[in-house]
Symmetry: C2
Subunit: 925 residues, 2 copies
């Protein structure tokens, strides 16, 4: 026939595919996602209630005049005849009436459009027929009154309130609380009342003619495509208007037509554990909502094998077929109508992280999917979840219901922690080490010299700071659950209590900190802590992820030096023990070792302070020589742990005053000691030398004060003003490498200069340091490879990367600082004041300290990689900022051609997976 | 002849030009700058002592084997014959000996090379002949011993010490103090001794053969081209090695051959005033050094008209010809040998700023040069000098010699100031206003609430801060001479004294501050203060500069929107009086009106503080409504002053805590009051309410504390969190414009949003403000044009300029902050700690806060202009940072296609000239 085909029966999928030129995706465009899927199941022989789809083209043709295009209605009538024939029912018939649902279905799921009208075809006569068939008058009237209301509101445009008013008034008058308490008579009465509402509102009766119902419902779907909400949504998401929506007309089937009928839901595998065993429930003589509502006890799906073995076997065959067809665990709904099984829906089943990994790996081993598919199916969040101790959802709900919720803050480092609270680092550490308590350290905010307490604690809670505050960064680095910026909490360090609202918690009391969600509970909440070693499936999956990334050709840029393999994942680690863990977690190198953390060790701090306060270069070198052996031994351990792999060591970065006590603290000490001295004076004792020393120290601290320390005297600036420190550090690095090499190991040191903004900074400092490297190798009579490179964390460095790559052999993006300076946001200040509001209000799509801002910061990074490689194609490019563990940011690092990302050891598995995801997403077709 | 021509006589310039293909610049390459100039004078008929030049090609040909190329020596001999013929003297002859000088001369003047050997040809015999001719035995022996030493050291490579040892030993032994005390006999003796030095050091005698002297001297020049110092210099300045140097051999002439001989120097116009009148001195029977040494009193050049009228007339004709030939004021040296006038040198004369302007303008009016040439000849520094009161060089030297130098610091704002010192703003203002004193405000550093003192002072001195500190910026803005960062100065605010080293200056004592050089003197140093109105020549020149910039086609980019005219100059002005001055100085608009300065006015501050401390939006609006009338009236004045010209008003920018007292200050007050209260308590008085209020204020101030305020809650961030303030400001702006428009004026307001980093910030705030503009116009029934735009001062804004230009109608670069964030330098901190060292050590070529860093910050600016105009070709682009008044930065602004630069009113004339210079430099050929 030469007439345009507007309507496809579910079993006409091949015709639809032919029509669009053979492409399944285009068939989805024509039939909509829902219609195409119903037709697809029909095609593979799964029993789907018969039905048909009016195409998206029909929708588009309808729009100009708001009229059915020529032939559409006739084709729908013909299709309905076909459905009647197939079902043996008659639409509008009074013996075995055919009822249908009408659903919209665009190519993409889209809110704001008319969704569903069920039970079309029900009227006063067919209702009687249905009562006979089901023997369930209450169900029929409930369905009928629902049809009138649904039809009235979505098709006839009557306000919901008009119906609710009648409904609620009736319930109130008759003191009926729940809908389930309504009797058959009540529903019968309400059905009549709803008819009156329609008449009153529209001036005509609720259409008793089934075909009129069908036509009006179809039109309503078409109209809703151009409705305001749908249009707004499309504008916001860039979906074109001419996509159109299809309309799906599908036979209603009923599981409540007797004890040979039933309904159920099932997963083809266990969605909690991933175990490959059918998992579901069913109920005989019931409709779908009965299973969900939990009014009657359901039976496990396996019991069907006893009650209706043939149907069960058919069901098993179908779900096996579906899983094979869709190559994923399926979540199915089915109904048995008088012994006949109908599949109402199949979709990929939601699952826990554990199940996601197990299902993916199992399916590879079953030959169902390949490794790439398995890797794509597991999300980074899945892996993250598996790596951190978690609270049990159930016990957390119990705690919540019991009023044990205390406060919430920024979820800075995921995982669950339970412990007794302490308000300072020393007490926290003492209680943990000496008293073997589980502790939570609670502070307004943390500083570098609080780290020992943070490491000793199970979890950390601060009332100030944002997601990249000191507490947050350190916590993530060490995998300690942490909540920061819990602003409702007032901490009284004198009285040793914290309060939030009316709740007061004293030092030593128990709390539970959920770093994953940012919630704090009073008392103990149960948690479970999985370990990586035991997760053999996860380890397998991560190896596959690495394989994908290591595949030559998986990435291809057209510029010299652009990598042909995917990203490697390296780790940030300051100590040998972190490096060991990083390697266990699959890190292929150390992307950042922060040497200054070594300076904070209690036995080294005095030498560090002596070095800082030195008046002459000689005194400074003297103090530094005291530090050299311990730095060297740190590095020996680090190189040994990462033997054969690159280790990037960053030279001292923070401003020196961070190694000295805070001015406030010193002032307080001086006042206290002065008062004591006065007492001593009265008692005839002498002057205190201590005060003089403290005052000297205070003067030194004050002279180092900066109005904006973030942009001050640190990094390479410090090295240029005071080269002795980095000279000692490079000597320690090179001597450590030489010692290891002489022991037959293969150290690969890379020296990283922080905060470079101008090529001349490298030109001044790098040759001095390279000379030390050569000198050490000569003295130790050994040769090993090393590199000198720089962080790119100052916008100017990114802009002038072409020059900087002339001297730097590698770039490592310090995206924390780069984000601060590119945005002009001081991160702690900003997260405390305007930044979170910016994110809430959508001024910023994401917190740029958590996910790289691709347009701004990312624009600079892209420029830096391109221009850097233009000068030096062999340039090694990585990232060592917090973003190195964020999947969205990792994808961006892949796109711009970085060689690796480096993140906290605990994030390495997540990053490995994210790197593979990026590689797959952007692999050449 | 087919032999290569290595040697050109001075009168062979045409041949040289032919040889290089007709280009004068290439002829300078062949003959060197000095040789070409001597030849050029010869060509135009000016009497130059005869001579010749061995070419740079000869130098290059010499280098490989360190041998004269074939034919060179023979050509030099032939040239010498020619010179002998022309002079009637004989080289090495004993009757009328020809003496010559030998000078190197590359294309560019270049230190590190052999300069000059004079009196070549002098030996024992010719010396006797010279004595006969000059009758001045002392002069001849002095010349002879100088020749031996000069020849010995530069040609024969004997150390200077070898001669100095003999010379100083002789003087010591004979108790002779000055060289001028040496008698003829002494010099005769020393000549012999110097010959002995040569013999001892070299093993041969000082060459008596004139030709041998000539050849060795020529070779020495060639060799010095490849000497270490010359090579190093070329490496550093990128001058290629194969340029080579020429060697110039020129007849010596003597002004001391009797009373018909003489010597002198002259300027063709007065180099101090520019007056068009010959200006110079001469001496009869004397050599050049006698004029300079000042042993004999010289006569004014005009006296020559009486003593030797014919020569004088010839001289007048020659200098007139030279000025006409070189089209600039000439500085000439001449010698008269036995009645014959020889010109030894002419060059463009150095001149004062005043003379530079007058000469340039006069020459245009004389038809000698065109306006473009006149504009190019005057430097920005010239104009700068003319605009600021200056200390007299002489009196300053007197002060220096008298030990009245006190200290030095960063020359932050030019000009001279003399006044009595006061250590706080209130006292400074009071002394200035009530006691009518001239005051200098001295502070460790300044803050916004010190501005009233700064404005009342003649000058400002701070011991802290850098060239862009608050003090420096405000001082430049208001043209107040200022020195900052005078780090040797200790200010004791309690004892009211400042000290530097041992010198103590008490409050009320006089000092003199030279903001141009950064020097401070004790007591009063004389100054003179020129005014623009009286400088009619300067005004004329600046009008020509504007004409050049306004010429269509003077600038041409190939992108849409790139301007075809040069830069306009606008001014930064906060008050109507500044705007009036700016317009007088030639500003074509206001590029930055900082509204917050209006908030600091004493009578407004209480309302501002009430607004900040408001707990509700209503209270805030209430306080703001108090401010509205005064803001509106400020703007009315501003628009009136700039009627018909654009006025860019920046919405509130600084963090709010700047409007509140500092926390330290409040804490001190509280402690003081507590002590007082304790006393009151003892005396039975009640509690102080004041302390409670102060504590509340302190809590508010503390809650606003930021670790890096530079990158904190200010600018548009503040507007988004607290839109009431900018809503009031825009209402005030628009009402002011409407009122003026209703008075028949033509306001052109442009509203500038500061600190934008993300397009969404504009999307949130701009529509709210535009709505107010429309509302005001409707209410006031008037229409005027307005624009909304943004500062580009956050690196991210530059990177994402394409997006931002979608909403912003203009960009104004805030290069102070942009520089801070692009470099990651907090300016005050950096200038105090590492930045100045960076500049000193050449790590940074210039202080980026004074001159735009073209590669880094400039790279972002260029990107922003290009991408912004790609979105909106009509985008108006300017700069309002400190750099807007810096000539080098102005040139860059021109290059990247900005429409205007905006600077302090006092810098407007400098900027106008700089803009014209840029336009001329980059005009299409």
């Amino acid at each position: 026939m030469s007439e345009k085909k507007w309507v496809y029966l579910f079993h006409e999928i091949e015709q639809a595919i032919d029509y669009v030129g053979g492409n399944w995706d285009d068939a989805r465009g024509l039939l909509g996602g829902k219609g195409a899927n119903l037709a697809d199941m029909t095609r593979i022989g799964v029993p789907v209630p018969p039905g048909f789809t009016a195409t998206t083209e029909a929708c588009n043709a309808y729009q100009p005049k708001k009229e059915f295009p020529e032939g559409l209605w006739e084709q729908m009538l013909a299709a309905m005849k076909d459905v009647e024939k197939e079902t043996g029912k008659v639409f509008g018939g009074v013996d075995n009436p055919l009822l249908v649902s009408c659903r919209s279905g665009a190519k993409f799921s889209m809110p704001g459009m008319m969704d569903t009208v069920l039970n079309i075809g029900l009227n006063d006569d067919t209702a009687q027929a249905m009562i006979k068939l089901t023997g369930n008058e209450r169900f029929v009237y409930d369905s009928y009154r629902r049809l009138i209301q649904m039809f009235g509101s979505v098709v006839l445009d009557i306000t919901d309130e008009a119906f609710e008013h009648v409904f609620d008034g009736y319930k109130e008058k008759n003191a009926i609380k729940a809908d389930t308490d309504l009797s058959t008579e009540d529903l019968k009465y309400l059905t009549e009342q709803f008819k009156i509402v329609v008449r009153k509102e529209k001036g005509f009766d609720f259409p008793q003619d089934a075909y009129q119902q069908l036509k009006l419902a179809t039109e309503a779907v078409f109209k809703s495509w151009m409705g305001k909400r749908a249009v707004d949504y499309r504008r916001a998401t860039d979906i074109p208007d001419d996509l159109g929506t299809a309309v799906n007309i599908c036979t209603m089937v009923f599981g409540n037509m007797g004890w040979d009928s039933g309904t159920g839901v099932a997963f083809t595998r266990n969605p909690a554990t991933g175990e490959s065993k059918l998992y579901g429930d069913y109920l005989l003589n019931a409709q779908g909502e009965d299973v969900v509502a939990g009014i009657r006890n359901t039976d496990p799906i396996q019991k069907m094998g006893e009650t209706m073995p043939a149907v069960y076997q058919q069901f098993l065959d179908i779900v096996a077929k579906l899983e094979k067809h869709y190559k994923d665990m399926q979540d199915v709904e089915f109904t048995i109508e008088r012994g006949r099984l109908w599949m109402l829906q199949t979709r990929n089943g939601k699952r826990t992280a554990r199940a996601a990994v197990k299902v993916a790996v199992d399916m590879v081993e079953e030959g169902l999917i390949d490794k790439k598919t398995a890797v794509s199916r597991v999300t980074s969040d899945n892996v993250d979840t598996l790596l951190h101790p978690q609270f049990d959802a159930v016990t957390k709900k119990v705690a919540m219901d019991a009023g044990r919720f205390f406060c919430s803050g920024v979820n800075a480092s995921p995982g669950a922690a339970v412990g007794q609270i302490y308000f300072d680092a020393d007490t926290t550490e003492r209680m943990a080490k000496e008293e073997h308590q589980e502790t939570i350290m609670v502070r307004p905010f943390t500083k570098p010299d609080d780290v020992h307490g943070m490491l000793a604690a199970q979890g950390i809670l601060t009332s100030e700071g944002g997601a990249t505050s000191h507490a947050a960064v350190v916590a993530r680095q060490f995998g300690v659950p942490c909540i920061v910026g819990a602003s409702s909490v007032k901490i009284d360090l004198d009285r040793r209590v914290m309060t939030s609202g009316d709740i007061v918690v004293k030092e030593g009391e128990w709390i539970s900190v959920d770093g994953t969600t940012g919630e704090v509970f009073l008392g103990k909440v149960d948690k479970h802590a999985p370990s990586l070693d035991e997760q053999t499936e996860l380890l397998k999956l991560l190896d596959w992820a690495d394989e994908i990334c290591a595949t030559p050709g998986i990435r291809k840029g057209d510029t010299p030096g652009f990598p042909t393999v995917g990203l490697q994942v390296w780790a940030n680690a300051d100590y040998p023990k972190d490096a060991i863990r990083a390697r266990e977690y699959g890190a292929k190198g150390i992307g950042l070792c922060r040497t200054e953390h070594m300076f904070f060790e209690p036995e080294r701090l005095p030498s560090v302070q002596r070095m800082i306060l030195a008046k002459t270069s000689e005194d400074r070198v003297d103090a530094l020589n005291d530090l050299l052996p311990s730095q060297r031994s740190d590095f020996e351990g680090l190189f040994e742990a990462m033997d054969g792999l690159p280790v990037i060591i960053r030279l001292i970065d923070p401003p020196l005053h961070e190694f000295l006590p805070a001015a406030e603290e010193l002032r307080d000490q001086i006042i206290t000691k002065r008062v004591a001295q006065m007492a001593d004076y009265i008692l005839g004792k002498g002057e205190s030398k201590e005060i003089v020393e403290l005052e000297k120290l205070l003067a030194a601290v004050e002279s180092m004060h900066e109005s904006n320390p973030m942009m001050g005297m640190r990094g390479v600036r410090l090295s240029i003003m005071m080269p002795e420190i980095v000279e000692m550090q490079v000597r320690a690095i090179m001597e450590a490498a030489a010692n290891n090499a002489n022991r037959g190991l293969h150290p690969k040191p890379e020296v990283m200069i922080p905060l470079t903004g101008h090529i001349n900074e490298l030109k001044v400092i790098q040759p001095r340091l390279e000379a030390i490297a050569k000198e050490v190798m000569e003295a130790k009579k050994v040769h090993f490879e090393y590199k000198f490179g720089t962080m790119i964390e100052i916008p100017r460095a990114a802009v002038t990367a072409a020059e900087i790559a002339g001297d730097a052999e590698f770039f490592s993006f310090g995206t924390n600082d780069l984000t601060q300076m590119t945005f002009g946001y001081s991160r702690d200040d900003a997260e405390r004041s305007f930044l979170l509001k910016y994110v809430e209000d959508g001024i910023l799509p994401k917190n740029p300290f958590q996910t790289i801002d691709r347009d701004g910061v990312g624009g600079l990074m892209k420029m830096a990689v391109e221009n850097g490689r233009a000068t030096r194609p062999s340039l090694e490019v990585g990232i060592c900022g917090e973003h190195g563990g964020d999947p969205n940011s990792i994808e961006f690092c892949h796109m711009i051609g970085q060689n690796y990302v480096s993140c906290s050891p605990f994030r390495v598995p997540v990053a490995r997976l994210a790197a593979a995801h990026a590689a797959l997403k952007y692999a050449p077709k």
